[in-house]
């Protein structure tokens, strides 16, 4: 009897990331990507942002934001590419590339926030 797969791990991270993205990403993009750059809302000052980012809870939040976002995206991209481009036979390679890139991103995030 073949073993149960370890897919549970990336899948649960994908799920957790899916919530993170669904709840928190839209407002970030709306504010920092659209409204502030268009000048519709005054940009927050550097002093204010620095104080905010320096708060430990904000750092914890930003870590979750980036790490879960990356792991979610990696898992989904792995399956999207293999489905969309018929690359099922390259699943291992796609997995290594996708999760590898995500883990590099998580390392960068940790480096930045600690």
């Amino acid at each position: 009897m073949a073993r149960r797969s370890a897919e549970s791990l990336p899948w649960s991270l994908f799920g957790a990331g899916g919530f993170m993205v669904a709840f928190f990403f839209p407002i970030h993009i709306l504010l920092f990507g659209i409204l502030i750059p268009l000048g519709l809302i005054a940009a927050p000052t550097h002093t204010g942002m620095l104080a905010l980012v320096n708060h430990p809870l904000t750092r914890l939040y930003l870590f979750g934001f980036c790490a879960l976002g990356l792991l979610h995206a990696a898992h989904r991209l792995r399956f999207t590419l293999s489905d969309m481009l018929r690359l099922k036979h390259l699943d291992t390679l796609l997995g290594v590339l996708a999760y590898g890139a995500a883990l590099v991103g998580v390392a960068v995030t940790i480096d930045l926030l600690i």
């Binding site: 073949a2 797969s5 549970s8 791990l9 649960s12 489905d83």
Partner: protein, 247 residues
């Protein structure tokens, strides 16, 4: 209303053809005729070599599934008149090898169905009930939806993931497997999870959801697959925290 309608029927002869082709047949457009009635008219009156499967003509045996104008249908409950003015293109179900004309080889599905153990499993040594098992309406409601599956495999035909990777256990087998897990008389959930949690179990599903859309019995195989992913994940983390624990 027109009194005739044209069917374009996929034909493939394994002895002669390298590729399927389409043959056109004109059939009378009779009120309440189904696509299957038209196929039977063709076979009886126009061309006895057209090959297809059917049995009950009432949407319960699950053998008359075909792709009608690009969508999976039970042809015994698909009205000709819904496709006016025609033509109606009738093809075999997708992904399975075509044996002849509209008949596909279901061996792969049959193997998968058996693998997921769709029957009631009792632990060895479990006390024999002294009379029939009692089930409440609530206990029945738990699995009723899944038990309506008639193995017509329209869902496999509609599933691109199965088309891309035939190792994927697929929709109907997952639904029928979960049906027994949810049965109050059953004790085989662990054994079935062993099958479903493997690499070629439920993990390839990307929740496209077309299986549940095409199901003529309103079974929701997509939900069954996600429920299996959740059970597998719970068991995986439990095993991580307490290896071999709880057994």
């Amino acid at each position: 209303m027109a009194d005739k309608i044209t069917l374009e029927v996929a034909r493939y002869s394994p002895e002669q053809d390298g590729e399927p082709r389409f043959d056109r047949y004109e059939v009378p457009l009779i009120e309440n005729w189904m696509v299957l009635d038209a196929l039977n008219y063709i076979k009886d009156q126009l061309d006895g070599t057209v090959t297809f499967r059917w049995s009950c003509r009432m949407g319960i045996c699950g053998s008359c599934g075909m792709v009608v104008n690009g969508h999976e249908r039970l042809t015994c409950e698909t009205l000709l008149a819904d496709y006016l003015p025609g033509p109606i293109r009738v093809e075999p179900l997708r992904h399975f090898p075509v044996m002849r004309d509209l008949v596909v080889d279901l061996s792969d599905f049959m193997e998968k169905l058996e693998r997921v153990k769709p029957w009631i499993i009792r632990q060895p040594g479990a006390p024999e009930p002294s009379r029939e098992f009692i089930q409440t309406p609530e206990q029945l409601a738990e699995y009723k939806q899944y038990s309506l599956c008639i193995n017509c495999v329209l869902c496999y035909s509609a599933c691109p993931v199965y088309g891309l990777d035939p190792h994927f256990i697929g929709p109907a087998a997952s639904a029928l497997s979960l049906r027994y897990n949810l049965d109050s008389r059953d004790q085989g959930a662990e054994q079935r999870l062993d099958v479903m949690a493997q690499h070629d179990g439920v993990w390839d599903c990307t929740v496209i959801g077309e299986c549940s859309v095409v199901c003529p019995k309103h079974v929701d195989p997509s939900l069954a697959i996600q429920e299996y992913k959740i059970s597998a994940t719970k068991a995986w983390f439990k095993n991580l925290l307490m290896p071999g624990g709880g057994k």
